[in-house]
Assembly symmetry: C2
Homo-oligomer: 212 residues x 2
Amino acid sequence: MRNDKMTISMDVVICTMSDDELKVVVRKRDKAPFAGRFELPGVFLKADESLKEGSRRCVRELTGLKSVYMEQMHTFGEVKRDSRERTISITYVAMIPESLLVDDYGELAIDGAEFVSMTEMAGSKKMAFDHGKIIAKTLDFFAAKAAVSDIAFNLVDEEFTLPDLQRAYELLLGKPLFKANFRNKMKNYIVETDYMTVGAAHRPSRLYMKIG
Amino acid sequence: MRNDKMTISMDVVICTMSDDELKVVVRKRDKAPFAGRFELPGVFLKADESLKEGSRRCVRELTGLKSVYMEQMHTFGEVKRDSRERTISITYVAMIPESLLVDDYGELAIDGAEFVSMTEMAGSKKMAFDHGKIIAKTLDFFAAKAAVSDIAFNLVDEEFTLPDLQRAYELLLGKPLFKANFRNKMKNYIVETDYMTVGAAHRPSRLYMKIG
DNA sequence: CAAATAGTGTCTTTGAGACACTATCGT
DNA sequence: ACGATAGTGTCTCAAAGACACTATTTG
């Protein structure tokens, strides 16, 4: 019986919401193959760590964050997806509120990494390897998942405004929602705090928190 | 940089509907570890085949069937899931109408394999390795998927009765459905044929086909 | 005041859920 | 006629979808 061993890469689609867009954290490759293109952050799985540990290590090494919402998304294994060597990519999705990723100037606070628009990179040749395909699949994953779960809450801070939460839902679902309907539905899952946003040139927005 | 290589096992949860239950095709192990327990059919992924090809090969070698509905489900990679050697299990789900699997006596027509109840094996210690956990996860996968897609059609023949299709939905969703409501909803996705079931000691049932 | 965004009231339409009934076979 | 399963009609209620309105801030 043949028993070919292979390299396992744990790649993570680290997503956040910024400038009314879904963004993903990427690095620019400086070596062949695909020099100059973007790649998803990834690590090689170690012999003594589980998939969850490996993907968490990837996020931790890059962002310094330890408790981040993560979920396994899909495993990619086309024979030639990496021209150098057969590599299986087990991909996880991470969702992080923007506030945890940016510095005081609103810039991504990770050396050698940057935010790029997910819709722009979905299926794009600007991404190295099959990473454009991975991002495209992530968008499908989001649309399916946001319709039946709470994942949108992972894109906002612990205290959030309803307009912000609605934007998160809309970006994940890929379609606009009616404000009044959205707010009615959310009523059951949130509680108001006593705080309001301040300083904007329009009516202030109340801050809410998630229930459960 | 470390780059540990690992063995990849493609394991397939081959499901069908039989005796008003979801059944999965398993083999009884005759060697340690877990001798005497059931295991899911699986193959080791070859260096020159994709994940899809590997999982299809598994199904083909076991059943002889070539065009079967299959979908990637989840990848399991706990360090000690196989005591002999670190093995990553990339699991696919296959759904096959019972008629394609059984002989003239209604018995599973595969040497050394048998049908067992999925609900009975979900999380059970009767399964080798973490295969009980894999089956449990498959049931969750089904419940989520059947609510938003047509996978249930994969459990019935090309021409099927509505009572049969409803049973498929109910088993996948894990809950009973109201007949009248179910039929109203299905109206848009099926067409009637001119044929009816015969011979049963009750009113005959019309055969339908899927649209699209 | 105007511009901009936050937030509410309410109508219509759709579909989920539920129940009761009728229909047609074999024995 | 009876037991069994197939199939239909219809009511209710909750949620989706849609629109129009009011409210509160800054400049």
